[in-house]
Each structure stands twice: as structure tokens, then as C-alpha cells.
Amino acid sequence: MDEPQKIMATALRAPLCSRLIPSLKSYSLSSASPQALHFNLLSKPLSLSSPHASSKLRKRASLTLVFSLQKLSETQAFPVSGEEGEFLGKFPSDSGVYAVFDKDSHLQFIGISRSIAASVAAHKKALPELCFSVKFGVVDDPDRAALTNAWKSWMEERISSVGKVPPGNESGNTTWVRRPRQKPDLRLTPGRHVQLTVPLEELIDQLVKENEVVVFIKGSRSSPLCGFSQRVVGILNEAGVDYESVDVLDEEYNSGLRETLKMYSNWPTFPQVFVKGELVGGADILSSMADNGSLAQLFRR
């Protein structure tokens, strides 16, 4: 990868805003004319020549996007004074890309938002000293891909002109983004077709004993697939507890887990929450513990 691409790839790993975080793993840029940008977008690191690539993925992979977003350098900047009600008139509540400048007109951060006005207001409140003027570009038909592409075009323009990413967009910088990226879910096995040398039950036992808090949920912690699992993840996130999560619906890495775990814990449903190696219960129990304060006690060392 050449320099701009390397920088871009790093920027892509940094979260854009607390509400929208693109999960693009890799991309490549070919040719760039001012208005038409060609992207090869891969949402998973999947080789297109692999027999498993569906035609849908192949179609998505080479996308030509022509949109009417103005260049960053040619967009007007609006001062942000922080007065009450200012945001209502001056900034749109639409989705799009925005760029924040400090009092010396240095570009600090480029973000995307489902509501530009709301994001600008939030930034001004949280970081008044860094938020002096804002440029924005509304994106029509703002699906996640369109928004991310708009962000990319401004980011690339910036990188081409100064050779680096705005300070707020550097990987690991959480000044502008409230929540850092979530921990990945744990996998019990290396894969479905790998022979286990240790029975699954023992793997479960090790897991819950080696980690203080473990939750077995339906879906991933970033997108649970059931209301009860979602509730448990929500409660733990809010409590600020450090926990490990395991997706019981993952047939590739956790095949057979559902049945084995039901027997192991003598508990027939999911989610299941383990603390210090012991089953604490499911969503109901965790909810009532959160309500009556016993949850805080449980996690206090």
C-alpha cells in the first residue's frame, strides 16, 4: 500500500463517531477524479475469487459512486458560538459528514452523523475549546455505505493535501468518540472441523473459572439477536463491568455449545451470566439485581 492508502487504512480503524462506526476492514482506491470516486469495498476480509463469495458480494465489491458532495476545501465553514438555539437554525438535522475546526482554523476532526446538528451540539458542549467552526455536507439517501464514502472523500482530500489524518481521527484517539470499540466475543474452539482434544464441557468450565464475568448470549455483544441477551449486555455495559461474551449461536466456533452449556449449568435458557465461575442467572435475575442494588455488590472485589 502506498502512503495515502496506508494512512487511510489506519484512519478507517479509528471510530468516526459514537453513533456510527464503520466496520470496514479493507478497501482499495483506484483512480480519483474530483467528483467520481471508485471504491472496492469489502465489508469482510473475503477473497472474491473464493467459491463462497456470493454474487451479491461481488456486485457490492466494485462500486462506482458519483455524488454531489462538495470538496472539503470548497465548503463554507460556519462559526459555532455555543449559544442556545444556535444549532437549530444553522446546522441541519440531516445525516452527513462534518469537519470541526479549532480557534486557529486547524482541522481537528472529520465525522459522520445521523444528525449533523445534534453531533455538532454535542461536540461543542463536550469540547468547547476545540470546536470553533464547522463545515458540513448533507448526504442524500444516507445509508451507512453512502455516509462512509462521503467521510472517506473528505478524509482523502485532507490526507492528499497535508499528508496526515486530523488529530481527532487518529487511531486510538477517543477525544471525539465517547465509546471505544467493543471487545470481540470469545470463541470456544478453533473451528467446527477441528478435532477437540478436550471435551467442550471442560472448555466451558475453564472459561468461566478463568474469567471473572462471562455471559453466554444469543448473537454478538455488539449486536445481540434476542431481547433478553440484549438486556443483559445493556446492563453490564452500563455498569461498566469488564466481561467476556460468547455467542451461543455461532455454529462455526461454538458448535454444540448450546446443549452442552444447558447441561453444564443445569439451566435451560439463554442468556446465562457467570460470575466467579458460578451461574448468577439470566436476564430476569440480572435485571432485578440491577434494580435492587445487589449487582454493584456482586462486582465489588
Binding site: 444469543k218 431481547g227 435451560p268 435458557t269 451461574l279 448468577v280 442467572g281 439470566g282 430476569d284 435475575i285
Partner: protein, 101 residues
């Protein structure tokens, strides 16, 4: 009890039968909320009689942690859980606890 006769009853009725006597419940409310979960992961095909809300007030819960109380209920409903019952929202209280509120 003849299992054939049982099969004619709805799941809710079967659950009531199994829980009522075993727990000497003074309050036993069972509500089928399967429609709320139709189409969510793990519910294959028919989404009827899969998710229930259960409220029980029973002296047998005395001195038992929440986990133990729920386990008691689950154990009584093993057959249902093996035949399509997916999830239960359980409220399990003792008569004293209800009296206090």
C-alpha cells in the same frame, strides 16, 4: 396422568398444572408472549407457545436465592422445555415479599 389427555391442553394449561401443586402457589399467572418474539434468532418455524411470562408466589421459595427459585421452576417444566418452550420470564416471590410491597 394420561399424557394423551395432557397433549390436548394448551402449553399454558399444562404449565399451570405442573407448577400449581408442586409449588403450592397462592398466585400463579401464566402469559403466552410468543408473539413478541416471533422471528428472533433461535425460534424456528412456528412461533407459538415458545415464550411465556410466569409469575408465582409460593412459600417454597422461602430462603432460596433467585437462581435456585428459577431452577425449581425450570425443573418442573423440563418436559415443556424439551418440546418447544424456549424462554421464560419468571417472577418468583414468597408470600412475605409480596406482602411487604
Amino acid at each position: 396422568m394420561a399424557s394423551r389427555a395432557n397433549a390436548m391442553l394448551s402449553r399454558a394449561s399444562r404449565m399451570k398444572q405442573k407448577l400449581q401443586t408442586a409449588l403450592e402457589a397462592s398466585v400463579l399467572e401464566i402469559e403466552d408472549v410468543s408473539y413478541q418474539h416471533a422471528g428472533h434468532a433461535g425460534v424456528k418455524g412456528d412461533a407459538t407457545e415458545t415464550h411465556f411470562n410466569v409469575k408465582i408466589v409460593s412459600p417454597k421459595f422461602e430462603g432460596q436465592s433467585l437462581v435456585k427459585r428459577h431452577r425449581l421452576v425450570y425443573d418442573l417444566l423440563t418436559e415443556e422445555l424439551q418440546s418447544g418452550l424456549h424462554a421464560l420470564s419468571i417472577v418468583a416471590k414468597t408470600p412475605q415479599e409480596v406482602g411487604r410491597s
